[in-house]
Amino acid sequence: MPRSIWKGAVSFGMVSIPIKLYTATESKDVSFHLLHSKCHTRIKQQRYCPACDEVVEWNDVVRGYEYGPDQHVVMDDGDFEKVPVPSARVVEIVQFVDLDKVDPIHYDRSYYLEPDQAGAKPFALLRETLRRTGRVAVAKVSLRQKEQLSILRPYADTLALETMYYPDEIRSTAELAIPGDETPLSDRELDMARSLVDMLSGEFDPSQYQDEYRLALLDIIEKKAAGQEVARPQPVAGKVTDLMEALRASIDAAKKERAAERARRPASRRAAG
């Protein structure tokens, strides 16, 4: 059973639907721990103050806003509490719009909605209505102390909540070097490009794409973990095989000699000490 990350209610007009939110996506990037090369222990992060030359614990850390070069306004917990946050726990629908009018550049993270038992019927009603009208709901929701703009839309058998970036958080393309609309394009060029696009066109089927890099990386990790048994060649009677056997015998003899040395040494040290 996945754990919900938020509990609240969808509200619009007189309707209030109690729901839970669940994250809809997870990154499957291969993650690594940072280890000390000598002993392979996980390293610990420490915070260090160069002016006081001391390690700083979390309870001695405060947040500061940089308003000028190296000039900070220090904020404490009390300051953060003064920010008016509209009543939490509500997904407040403010408008309904057509889905294709919302540009994907706005989308940030996705969540799934699950209604409580009491809200099952109004949830199904909202879902069905959105499906039939082809519209989505623009809503405001307070997640993690911040009021998020979001879209509520039918997805699979539930409703998905897509949090969005505010318009002033979306960068303009004005500072990029983009060829303008007046760039001369001949009809032939356009036709050729068009036929290339047609040739590669098809239905979008995400299941045909795999993270090749991740699979290859996991393969390597698995082989390393298994100690990589490398198959030894079949021996053929002859001088070369005899030579290799002689070398292996030398290696084994040297190993036994070293083991015997180690066994003898502590005894002699004990006798001397």
Partner: protein, 324 residues
């Protein structure tokens, strides 16, 4: 793919260790029943080794490209390059009057690069070794090269004890890079030896009526041919006569070395095309070979492959995976 030098042996679970055979490195192109043995300088060696003609019949595939070494074994079962010396030299010199001692020739295959039209260059070494084992049926003439795991140091010491040339450590996960010198393969040498280009010879002097007094050797560093020393021993009378005849047809007016050696003798400069094998005691601080001894013509090596390693590079530790 060629190894880089490591100054010392090491133990490693990520490497496998093979003998440095001191033979002739050759790629074996097998196409049905046809075999072509190709040297590092791309010369076709197949006519020199009729003993290996049966290799295609040991292959459980229609076509393959194997990488390995042609090894000549002496009576005590040790690899001995000098047993191949006259065969290699015969590419440039007249074969000697006396037939050389019969040598037991065997091809030690240590890698497979292509199999039935599929490239294996992007498969890790461990996998290529498995495939090689399945695909080559061993015989006296051609076998899959054996290797040791983990114990590089003990293996090297055993090799030194048996007076062998050294060992090669290869990363189990490494891919194959054709014609590249790569740190994924590390060579640890027990004896000092190398391949050098003949850039000239000195004339006159000496007790016998020698055709030449000494050969002037060079090696490439930074793209230029540098003089590394003079060798005046190690060749038989016949070899010397043959060499003199060969070199007399290759005279050039200008010294091929970046700096002419300070030798008070009459020197003939030659086109830097002939490569020879030389054993020596060590490198002098000035970058010269000390006590060099001629060990045969390398008609299988091109001059550009003779590089001057002044000192082996600082110890490259067995590589770790990427930190992510």
């Amino acid at each position: 793919m060629l190894p880089t030098l490591a100054p010392e042996p090491f133990d490693s679970p990520d490497h496998l260790f093979e003998l440095k055979w001191g033979g002739v490195r050759a790629l074996a192109y097998v196409q049905r029943t046809h075999l072509r043995l190709q040297a590092r300088n791309l010369r076709d060696l197949s006519p020199l080794y009729p003993e290996l003609a049966g290799l295609p019949h040991q292959l459980r595939a229609r076509s393959a490209l194997l990488d390995g070494e042609i090894v000549a074994l002496g009576p005590e079962g040790h690899p001995d390059f000098s047993l191949q010396r006259s065969r290699l030299a015969s590419c440039l010199l007249k074969p000697p009057a006396k037939r050389p001692a019969a040598a037991e020739i065997s091809y030690q295959a240590f890698d497979v690069l292509f199999l039935d039209g599929r490239s294996l260059l992007n498969r890790p070494l461990a996998e290529r070794k498995s495939i090689l084992r399945d695909v080559l049926e061993p015989s006296q003439a051609a076998q899959v090269c054996d290797f040791i795991e983990d114990e590089g140091i003990a293996f090297f010491e055993a090799a030194v004890e048996h007076k062998l040339e050294g060992i090669v450590a290869k990363e189990k996960g490494s891919l194959y890079f054709p014609a590249r010198r790569s740190p994924a393969w590390l060579e640890v040498r027990a004896l000092q030896g190398g391949e050098f280009v003949i850039g000239g010879y000195t004339f006159g002097g000496g007790r016998r009526r020698d055709p030449f007094q000494g050969l002037l050797l060079g090696a490439y560093r930074g793209g230029r041919l540098r003089y590394v020393g003079q060798v005046s021993g190690g060749y038989s009378d016949e070899e010397a006569a043959g060499l003199a005849g060969l070199l007399s047809k290759m005279h050039v007016a200008r010294c091929p070395f970046v700096e002419p050696p300070a030798i008070q003798r009459f020197i003939f400069w030659v086109k830097p095309q002939v490569v020879c094998q030389v054993r020596f005691s060590h490198w002098s601080p000035q970058g010269r070979l000390r006590f060099p001894v001629f060990a045969g013509l390398r008609t299988d090596v091109s001059p550009q492959d003779c590089f001057a390693e002044q000192a082996p590079p600082p110890p490259p530790r067995p590589r770790r995976g990427p930190l992510s």
